[in-house]
């Protein structure tokens, strides 16, 4: 199949999303090595009430050569403690990245991938999922349990992640002040002391360790938060784990009764109205438009090559 269609569609969406007038302040997007099929996306939550506020979460989006007929994948490049993020590789499990079909049982109503979705609608859904996890299909059981039963531990872990993620903020980059996206009101308010907590206060650290989440490491040491090998170019789209459930943990037995109905992921409408995005605010990372175009021109050959070494 010709790749030109998917490449030109992605290029168009990339230009739209990085257009200073149209961009989404919550996302800092660049092409990885000029490859239109691999995007580096940094996620920022601009809502000051959010426990994720201040973080700069690097992630990678990969697009199949037959995009948009098949969905992209999305994974965080640092460990990301969240019910719907795999501890193994940071892969995000969200319904909008799964194709249709009605065969799944008992899953909360949520939007599925269709060719009419866009990168923008996916990103909006991901932003929404951060603070509104879907505990019905946990990719990280420990995070899911903590989110439901021990919110303080959950929030503290997230907070540490936020701090850690600040190391990734590129020199000269300022996290935007204004937000366009408004997080849905959540009932769980972070307790006040949390915000004044010193960096070294971590009373529940042992508790955290006791849950045996080896992937994240329990302590605040730098080694505790390791990078996935983010340079690994051999990620095969076809080998990705499609299941959102960690079947080994017996979570479903323990968890089902405790699930809150309010925790269902709110479906996000596809096709976000451009007008809500265009706030007329100052652009975040006004990389000169020319520079980007040049970059693409230079890499013309790789632009049309979805997965470099894979092919």
């Amino acid at each position: 199949m010709s790749k030109s269609g998917s490449a030109s569609l992605l290029l168009k969406q990339y230009k739209d999303l990085t257009d200073p007038k149209l961009n989404m302040p919550s996302f800092h997007i660049e092409l990885k090595d000029g490859n239109i099929y691999v995007w580096n996306v940094a996620v920022m939550v601009l809502n000051k009430e959010s426990i994720y506020h201040g973080g700069y979460f690097k992630a990678e989006m990969r697009f199949p050569s037959d995009y948009p007929f098949n969905p992209p994948t999305f994974r965080f490049l640092r460990p990301f403690f969240h019910p719907n993020v795999y501890p193994k590789d940071g892969g995000l499990c969200i319904s909008i990245l799964h194709p249709g079909e009605d065969a799944t049982s008992g899953e909360a109503p949520s939007e599925r991938w269709s060719p009419a979705q866009s990168v923008e609608s996916v990103l909006v859904s991901i932003l929404s999922l951060l603070e509104d996890p879907n505990p019905d299909s946990p990719a990280n059981v420990d995070a899911s349990v903590a989110w439901r039963n021990d919110r303080e531990r959950y929030n503290n872990t997230v907070r540490r992640q936020v701090e850690k993620s600040k190391e990734d903020i590129p020199v000269g980059f300022k996290i935007p002040e204004s937000e366009v996206y408004t997080a849905p009101p959540t009932e769980d308010v972070v307790d006040d002391s949390f915000w004044y907590e010193d960096a070294d206060v971590d009373d529940d650290n042992d508790d955290f360790d006791a849950c045996g989440d080896d992937d994240f490491g329990g302590d605040d040491d730098d080694e505790g938060v390791v990078d996935f090998d983010s340079n690994d170019e051999d990620v095969d789209m076809d080998d990705r784990e499609d299941s959102c459930s960690d079947k080994d943990d017996g979570f479903t037995d323990a968890g089902e009764t405790a699930l809150d109905s309010e925790t269902e992921v709110t479906p996000v409408k596809s096709g976000v109205d451009r007008k809500t995005v265009d706030t007329g605010l100052e652009p975040l990372t006004p990389a000169p438009e020319n520079e980007k175009v040049d970059m693409l021109d230079e890499k013309r050959s790789t632009v049309l090559d979805p997965h470099e070494s894979e092919l």
């Binding site: 007929f69 194709p99 249709g100 065969a103 269709s114 060719p115 009419a116 866009s118 409408k269």
Partner: protein, 274 residues
């Protein structure tokens, strides 16, 4: 591409007790892909006698014979979950290609005007424009195309997939804008969500068309009558033919109306020629 012989290996990797829904879906898709790769997206016309040779069953044989001889035939379409959509779309353009340039243009204009349905249903232009454009491109090339070129155009995955998405969106938009008409058929008693139904069954690529989808497609196009020949083991010596007529006829312009026939065998649609 997965080869046929590798299938047991795929299955063996998975403990049946550990299979979750999405893995099952993925494995099902892999099996479908293997099947699909054996056939072109849109095949060549075959006389009905070829179909007859495929069956030994008396019921099928008598039904196939009753479809008629002479020029009757069918055109196989790949069974990849898009078959009804692809069959419909191909036959739509094939019928149009036999008409005058003016008639093709009128049809193109009319289909363009149906884009309003997408807006009314809440789809953003950025979401659908690429697919609609692919349809327009084919309309422009159509008057100068040979039948062989049309087949080859539809065997270009990108082109026919985009057109399928366009048609899927039209059908979904019709359902969304006529929710009252369709809700009773979707509601399973626990409350149904029209958007969710469309998202999972109509918009989603590679999900097979159900009766509702075909009805919505015909209603959204307004210029096509669709007949589906049901070739199954139901009683009788003749196949049941179900017709879908558009609920509202085209009024704004006067594009020629078309009659498309599909041959349905359980789980699959091909194009039928009377």
């Amino acid at each position: 591409m997965v080869q046929e012989g590798e299938l047991p290996t795929i299955a063996a990797e998975h403990d049946p007790d550990q299979l979750d829904d999405l893995t099952i879906l993925r494995l099902t898709q892999e099996i479908k892909d293997v099947e699909a790769s054996k056939n072109p997206l849109v095949g060549d016309f075959k006389p009905i006698s070829v179909l007859l040779n495929e069956y030994k069953d008396a019921t099928f044989r008598s039904k196939i014979k009753a479809l008629g001889g002479g020029n009757a035939g069918y055109r196989p379409v790949r069974g990849d979950g898009n078959c009804a959509w692809r069959a419909f779309a191909f036959r739509y353009f094939e019928l149009l290609s036999t008409l005058s340039k003016e008639e093709i243009e009128a049809s193109s204009k009319f289909l363009q005007s149906r884009t309003g349905l997408l807006d009314a249903a809440g789809y953003s232009e950025t979401g659908y424009i690429d697919f609609v454009e692919e349809t327009s491109n084919l309309f422009q090339k159509l008057p100068d195309m040979t039948p062989e070129q049309l087949v080859s155009e539809f065997n270009n995955t990108e082109v026919s997939s985009a057109i399928i998405v366009h048609f899927r969106l039209l059908a979904a938009a019709y359902i969304k804008t006529h929710a009252d008409d369709y809700l009773p058929f979707i509601d399973d008693g626990e409350g149904a969500d029209i958007s969710e139904y469309c998202n999972r069954n109509i918009e989603a690529f590679s999900v097979e068309a159900d009766h509702l989808a075909l009805s919505a497609l015909v209603n959204s196009m307004t210029t096509v009558e669709l007949g589906v020949v049901y070739m199954d083991r139901s009683a009788g010596d003749e196949a049941v033919i179900h017709y879908f007529f558009p609920a509202e006829a085209a009024v704004e312009v006067d594009p020629p109306s078309l009659k498309i026939d599909l041959l349905y065998r359980p789980g699959h649609y091909d194009i039928f020629y009377k």
